[in-house]
């Protein structure tokens, strides 16, 4: 089978043979890569490539190797449509929500502002810690749904970027 991946922003295509335990002759973007694969328990795998051993641990949408976490996304063409439908793409308006209950201490943008991806929008305080919430995409601020000193609950919409 072939798996299309986005690993840290880079698209790769990995071809895997039918058997995925033991010595696996795979191809990564057409380059041959032979690895001895052993699944130790769900989510924990040992790979041996040319004598070098990698302990790989699956952590949600990332894999942890040597203490480093590499985020990845499966770009399975069959499921692509479904995910677009769920509104997870970069098109369309995106709501920035409070990750946990807290209080709004600062609002850094107003409706109509053009913002870049990663630009700070709102600062909320919870457990005596201030947390700056950033724009998930470049776009225009469609709505600021809160005011300074508002108490917000987890999941409350703070700002909508379109």
């Amino acid at each position: 089978m072939t798996v299309w991946l986005d690993v840290g922003g880079k698209k790769v295509r990995v071809s895997l043979p039918g058997s995925r335990e033991g010595v696996v002759a795979a191809e990564v973007d057409g380059r041959a890569l032979t690895a001895d694969v052993r699944m130790l328990r769900p989510g924990v795998m040992s790979l041996v490539v040319e004598g070098r051993q990698y302990r790989c641990v699956l952590d949600g949408d990332g894999v942890v190797i040597d203490g480093r976490r590499f985020g990845f996304e499966v770009e399975d063409p069959r499921s692509l449509q479904g995910r677009r439908g769920a509104g997870a793409g970069t098109d369309g308006p995106r709501a920035v929500k409070a990750p946990m209950p807290g209080r709004v201490v600062r609002i850094l943008v107003k409706a109509g502002d053009e913002v870049g991806q990663g630009q700070g929008l709102v600062v909320i305080e919870a457990m005596k810690m201030q947390n700056e919430l950033k724009s998930p995409k470049a776009g225009r601020v469609a709505k600021v749904a809160v005011a300074v000193d508002d108490t917000v609950g987890s999941g409350d919409v703070l700002v909508v970027v379109e």
Partner: protein, 494 residues
Amino acid sequence: MLIANRGEIALRVIRACREMGLATVAVYSDADRGALHVPHADEAYRLGPAPAAESYLRGDLILEIARRSGTDAIHPGYGFLSENADFAEACAVAGVTFIGPPASAMRVLGSKTKARQAADAAGMPRVPGSVTGLADAEEAVRVAAGIGYPVMLKAAAGGGGKGMRAVFGAAELPAAFAAASSEAERSFGSGEVYLEKLIERPRHIEIQLMADEHGGCVYLGERECSVQRRHQKVIEEAPSAVVGEELRRRMGAAAARLALSAGYVNAGTVEFLVDAAENFYFLEMNTRLQVEHPVTELVTGLDLVHMQLRVAMGEPLAIAQEDIVLRGHAIECRIYAEDPENNFFPSPGLITRLVQPGGPGIREDCAVYEGWRVPLDYDPMLSKLVAFAPTREMAIDRMLRALDEYVIGGIKTNIGLFRRILMDEDFRSARIDTGYLERLLAEGTALPQKAVLEDVVALAAALFSASTKSEAVVAEVAVESRWAVAGRREGLRL
């Protein structure tokens, strides 16, 4: 024994009780029915809703459960009711032994102002300074001359650095006094300023004490807790790299003198600031078992909780001061559910993966497991990872090895921060003080990382994706709705 606490400390106390053949009673809030301290206990009782004020801080409910379960004694752990003198007193009234000092000693030593008076009476060194506000610059110059430069001007009404000025000589003092006073006036509505000797780059070093009911009191060496962030300890170690036999004896004797002067019993810790010239200054006393007690246990070979319980049973201390010998070096990392990339914001949530370290010299006091959802109602400490080795250098390398083995998935943790500290040259040479970590974080340099071939990462990701159809990830998606998963991803991306 009823353990009036949760998390790793409740589990740690339960384990000690079981080792001593004592039956254990756990209590839990609604958020903690699945917490690990509950299934380790012989009996378990619900306290109340998740907020601590409605559960772990409800001394009345805890005493009611103690009565119902026929409990003889209550161990408060740390935090919650552990330093609450009224609760200790209520236990005594109810005929239940409180594992800790008597309420009277707690009242004297637990309050900062009263503890300072007790420290003065016991001849403990404090940071020298004027106790009251200074009338004018002339008085400031006079007082400073008596203390010796450098000095720090501080606003009497203040905090947060406002109205503070460091002064290194008499020539600068009048101008600094005027500036500090007017800043204090503007910030706090009072221009009152006092003066203290400036302790440059102080280290936080504390003495562990254990006292019995028969006037016996020993000190179990020191711990250095200079690696702090916002006054919260991050790494603790024993012994301190800068404390020799002689200084240890002087600090230990001073701490024991203070405890005995107040009729102190059981485990306690006296905290000091120590300057570069090995002068030590009393800071405060913690009248309970400390989070960082394991490092002391490892270098002394003693079990502090066993000792606490034996003292509470009325036994005299089984060890004399001259028999307490420190061996090797221990380092503790407080592993938190927090995001170092995002201002250390708490990161509670579901632990989807947990691979814990082991091997020689590694102790982990932990109360989380794969599948446990870290509640947001309490302190987000996940685990205390402790490395013990013959030398400090070996203990650091051992800790780095253990951190490499450790994977906590699903939530953000500060494990990466520890790698960075433990590889830092200043930390490795013990050039640390209470401002060390803030300076390191301000540097913002990236951590040197081992290279991993991109193709190997891609292969691992592909293999996991190919196998998820029959495994855990699918199960997770099945129980949570697609919206919950999408929502969590979105949350993570923020």
